[in-house]
Amino acid sequence: MNNEFKIEKQKYIDSAAQEYSEIMDELKKEQNQVILDFLSEIDKKKLEEIRGKIKGIIENGQPKI
């Protein structure tokens, strides 16, 4: 196998690897976004819970311990 042929092949290997790497970067970003969205949903949920508690206190008075 001559070197020219090998160089050509190496070029394509590099290109495939590069392409893969770019897709993986995108997927990583996507994962980060999912985590951020998850956190934001948790925030909303907690806020609702707090609101519910406050509403309960307003309507029913302080819970007796």
Partner: protein, 620 residues
């Protein structure tokens, strides 16, 4: 065994693995297997990072005590899906690299390189649309840009604003772009005046300025909808469904019900405006052609298709104009729009202070349906440009794996650009490489190795090599437009409800084009074979006569000679010429809409080496 001894043995045992093969090669030689292994190992490390990402997510969930329930499951599923997609991509990459490394001669390499070239061209497609993706995935901003920022942007946008406009070569299209740009400005000015006038009324004495609360609410409602119609309507024909999709309005159906009156009024306005752009003769001719087509469809068994056609007919008139609208809109225009929008928001705040319920109502609607940011505008313009370019006077060709053609004929439908997994966002599809000119039979079912960028390349719709492989479907861009199919044909979308046959697998959404709207282009040597297949599948003589287009053997031979050892190339100039001259001429001669002028046929402006492949695969 003492620990030192153990370590020595361990090192000795692992030596052959550690020593790179390259060192065993003669100096100057390239050890491809070693390089391939290294790349694959590095790829595995990358894949592991995705796994860590999922673990991180689970850790976070634990921290917040959210390790079960709908919320957790929903997000965990997303994380899992991303990881699985990564696995699929890894697998494809590893196989491809191994195949390249193993290729023993130029012929074998040509086989693999064909795939790699395809991969590159797909990559180019992705990078060309990167801006679109970026804009698509951008979340709406929480607050409007400050005036200073708007001004700064307007000042620096000189180059950007002309980017799309300058690509338009058709003078008639160009004048439409400018005309529509002017219209946008006028509407914008009107919107500004409306806002100012309402502002004066709302900040003054309410009982003097409004007859009653209902009148005030009615005016707010109109103003809110105007915000949307100025943004969406002028740029893309708000009455056009695509505008809603492009602007990514959540709760769309709800909005249309709540704002039914305003919506219908706008629909009429848009229709009149679009008809108004044409000469009476032209309107009549187009209407007649559409009515005739409807008449033809009267007895068509496929009621759904007829219904869709009727719907599309209603949306037709603003199609190409709408695209040109978007192209014509400049950044300083939408900067002004955003300023108006900020004023509107301020007004809502004022209302809240004066009339809490009404203010809250308006605020909710504003947040829910009617607010935009600059990315919305950029995205719409970008997509409009794509549409104008892809559906111009050119011939759209859909290159298909020949082994699948028979099935397409049997089904009577060509799946559009893409097929993708239910529940996946458009941006996710793009990342998975599913939004190019994908062979419609490469299904992506999600959550598995199939759901990957590599798979569609391996399925081999890519570049044909032998004469008999040159089989594709084609149609004039104009005709797509007239049937309201332009987007369906060449752009990915999630409009599953608009697929005429509804024949898609559960979980797969796709656009479809009826075969009667397409030319089937085959090499001369395959003609008899395809005539037989068409007859077997009940296509009539008329269809075969008009829609089966033959590539003369001479052309095929020239293309084969031109390609040399690797066979016919995707960028074959011979075939390119055939598509752009012969096929185009034929399609025009058969088209009912050949007298219509549509947008533009701007060429691709990107990296050397890619244009040609796409040139004959997709558009002229």
């Amino acid at each position: 065994m003492d620990s030192q001894k153990f370590e020595e043995i361990k090192i000795q045992e692992s030596k052959p693995e550690i020593m790179p093969r390259k060192e065993q090669q003669a100096e100057g030689e390239i050890d491809l297997e070693n390089i391939a292994d290294k790349k694959i190992s590095e790829g595995e490390v990358e894949l592991n990072k995705l796994e860590h990402g999922r673990n991180n997510f689970q850790e976070i969930a634990k921290k917040y005590d959210e390790t079960a329930g709908d919320l957790y499951n929903r997000f965990d599923e997303k994380m899992y899906s991303i990881y699985e997609r990564g696995k699929g991509v890894f697998k494809s990459m590893a196989e491809k690299i191994k195949a390249i490394a193993k290729a023993n001669d130029w012929n074998e390499l040509a086989e693999v390189v064909g795939l790699s070239k395809k991969a590159e061209s797909e990559k180019a497609e992705i990078s060309e649309q990167k801006e679109e993706l970026k804009e698509q995935t951008s979340k709406p901003e929480k607050s409007e840009p400050a005036d200073k920022e708007i001004k700064a942007e307007a000042e620096t946008e000189t180059t950007e604003k002309s980017r799309y406009r300058e690509k338009i070569t058709n003078p008639e299209a160009l004048s439409l772009v400018d005309e529509n740009s002017e219209k946008f400005k006028n509407e914008l000015t009107q919107f500004e005046l409306d806002i100012e006038s309402f502002k004066t009324k709302i900040t003054g004495n309410l009982s003097e300025n409004f007859k009653n609360e209902d009148e005030m609410e009615g005016e707010i409602k109109k103003l809110l909808y105007k915000n949307a119609s100025v943004a969406g309507g002028l740029m893309y024909g708000f009455e056009n469904k695509r505008a809603f999709r492009h602007f990514n309005i959540p709760n769309l159906q709800e909005m249309k019900t709540e704002f039914k009156e305003e919506y219908e009024e706008k629909l009429k306005e848009g229709y009149t405006r679009c008809l108004g752009n044409k000469s009476p003769d032209e309107i009549k001719k187009t209407m007649d052609a559409l009515d005739k087509r409807l008449e033809e469809l009267k007895n068509d068994e496929d009621k759904e298709f007829k219904r869709q056609f009727e719907l599309k007919k209603n949306f037709y008139f603003d199609r190409h104009d709408a695209s040109l609208y978007a192209i014509g809109v400049k950044e300083q225009d939408y900067a002004s729009f955003l300023k108006n929008q900020a004023n509107l928001k301020e007004i809502i705040e004022n209302i809240k202070n004066k009339n809490k319920d009404t203010g809250k109502w308006a605020e909710e609607r504003f947040n829910r349906y009617f607010h935009y940011n600059e990315n919305d505008f950029k995205l719409v313009r970008h997509r409009a440009y794509y549409e104008a370019r892809r559906t111009g006077k050119g011939v759209f060709t859909h290159v298909t794996n020949p082994s699948k053609v028979e099935k397409i004929i049997k089904d009577n439908y060509l799946r559009g650009s893409t097929a993708f997994s239910k529940g996946e966002e458009y941006s996710e599809m793009k990342k998975a490489g599913q939004t190019g000119n994908i062979d419609e039979f490469v299904y992506f079912k999600g959550n598995g190795a199939d759901f990957s960028y590599g798979t569609k390349i391996e399925q081999g719709f890519a570049v044909s090599k032998k004469g008999k492989d040159i089989v594709f479907f084609a149609r004039l861009g104009n005709d797509f437009l007239v049937d309201g199919m332009s987007v369906a044909a060449v752009n990915p979308s999630r409009r599953s409800e608009e697929t005429p046959s509804g024949k898609y697998e559960d979980g797969i959404l796709a656009n479809e084009i009826n075969l009667k709207d397409l030319y089937l282009v085959v090499p001369e040597s395959e003609k008899e074979n395809y005539v037989k297949i068409l007859k077997e599948n009940n296509y009539d003589e008329g269809y075969i006569k008009d829609n089966l287009v033959v590539i003369p053997e001479k052309i095929i031979q020239q293309a084969e000679e031109e390609g040399g050892r690797g066979g016919i190339r995707g960028n074959s100039e011979v075939l390119n010429k055939f598509v752009n001259v012969e096929l185009k001429k034929y399609a025009f001669s058969k088209s009912k809409n050949r007298d219509k002028i549509f947008a533009t046929i701007a060429g691709r402006q990107r990296g050397v080496g890619f244009q040609k492949i796409y040139k004959w695969q997709q558009i002229n």
